[in-house]
Amino acid sequence: MMKKTFAVPGEVVLDDLLAGFPHASAVLDEGFKIVALNHMLEALTGYNRDIAVGVYADFILRSNMANSRGQVFQRVAETGETVSIVGDIINRSRKRIPVRFTVSLLRTRRSNQAKGLLVVLEDISAIQATVQTTLLSEWSTNIIGHSPKMQAVFEIMPLMARTEASILITGETGTGKDKIAETIHRNSPRGRFQFVKINCGALPADLLESELFGHVKGAFTGAVRDKAGMFKLADKGTIFLTEIGDMPLPLQVKLLSVLDDRAFYPVGGERKEKVDVRVIAATHRSLSEQVERGAFREDLFYRLNVLHIHLPPLREREGDIRFLLDFFLQDYATRLGKEIQTFSEAALRHLLEYPYPGNIRELRNIVEYCANICRKSNIEKEDLPRYIFEKRTEIQQTVLPAASAGEAVREKRPAPLVLERPAVAENWPATEREMILQALTTTRGNRSKAAEILGWGRTTLWRKMVRHGLA
């Protein structure tokens, strides 16, 4: 097809043309020497036109856009395709400036021949500074954690934000999986598009399918109009499937096909919808165990588990509890307009010893309770919720088998039995009986595994079970 071209009648003074550009710009000749440049480029590079005109653009721009020996310029000249690269320049004041380079081909009107290049340099230092501030604030204050385990998570998050691969986030309830997912999305190239969250465990299978993939009019009773599903809404953005472990098996098949083909059929639809969506999934369950039980498709598990983040429970995050307590106390005191300053020693001792099975969500709720109840400047033991003291006598068991970051999905070894606070009023035989029961519950009645957890031989376990009337 013949390309239509338009040109300003007569000869255009390039300097005049470039003067109207909102960014630093230059026109280069076929040999990539500067022919014309605007004032913004002079200001950005620190070279005035008397020096710059006639000099190879590389020597004036001093960029890192992989333009060694004019490679980028050459590519644009040959292919005619406009190239946009984010990089930096070092200007005459020895300052490094982040820049987005856009290089496009200039052709003549008559012969349609390449005659030069237009180079536009957009100073993105302000944008990058904002992004860095946002990143810093999101990474460090929105998601709080100074413990080594959380630092490891923070280190890996920016890397994950930069990729397109699916992410699986595991962690107990209340560990902040949603927050992590959203932060990754906001700081990814998809950040300006939608972040759509859907809880796979909250809806019945049919409804979930319709919610995820949409439906066409008449697909089922009540489907009076076409409805776009979450996947369509999240196009170019990220879909966050929380409680993925609760997704019904038939839907898992459909999800797998979306991940593979990037397309799906809406419920009752005949036309395939194409989508460009990044999937982040989260679960508090051990998906590998669910795969073993046949409750989760193995292929989908591997498809989702390209990148994996495990969020440690609060009890494994040394030092973070104190930090979070202070942070939430300050937050709630401000919100409630109270002048509460800190926790008393006794209150703090109880709060630090508490295992927080509900993790950060529970800790935040406890602090909110305290801040509401407290009438003095310090939170006393009496201001703490009663159930904290009751729970201290219970045997704590983790919801999810403990697994450190990066290995949660391959835990083949038996889960360790956590016996944090044995019942103080009971004697050893009663505690031993509890331990056996706990181990058997964890291993779902498998005596060999239970014996392994307890550190006993299988015969010893059997003997003790008989003694406690459990066999």
Binding site: D29, E30, K33, V53, G54, V55, R62, S63, N64, R69
Partner: protein
Amino acid sequence: MKILITAQGDFVAQRFDLTAEVVLATVENGELVGKSRTIIMDRPSPEDLSNMIMEENISVVICGGIEDRHYQFLTWKKIRVIDYVIGDHETVLRRFLAGELQPGDLLPLTRSDLSL
């Protein structure tokens, strides 16, 4: 006195931090001693390059664009830095030997071919 010129092909490299090739020359009494030699670095790295400058006891660095922190480091180490030089490194070296090279010098380059 040892001189280091950051190079890219025949020219002074555009940037110190992206330099992967250097030309080393020894000068005594304003004369070049022996031939200058070229060293190819493993990778462009301003830190490695700075280390090399220290290890080789370089007195003068001739380069293109350089970030202020690297410039400050070198001058703090009492190394003379002639930066933002544009030109081919052989001519640059000759100019230096003649005592005529200044920071920001633009050596005569072809100013033809402005065909647009």
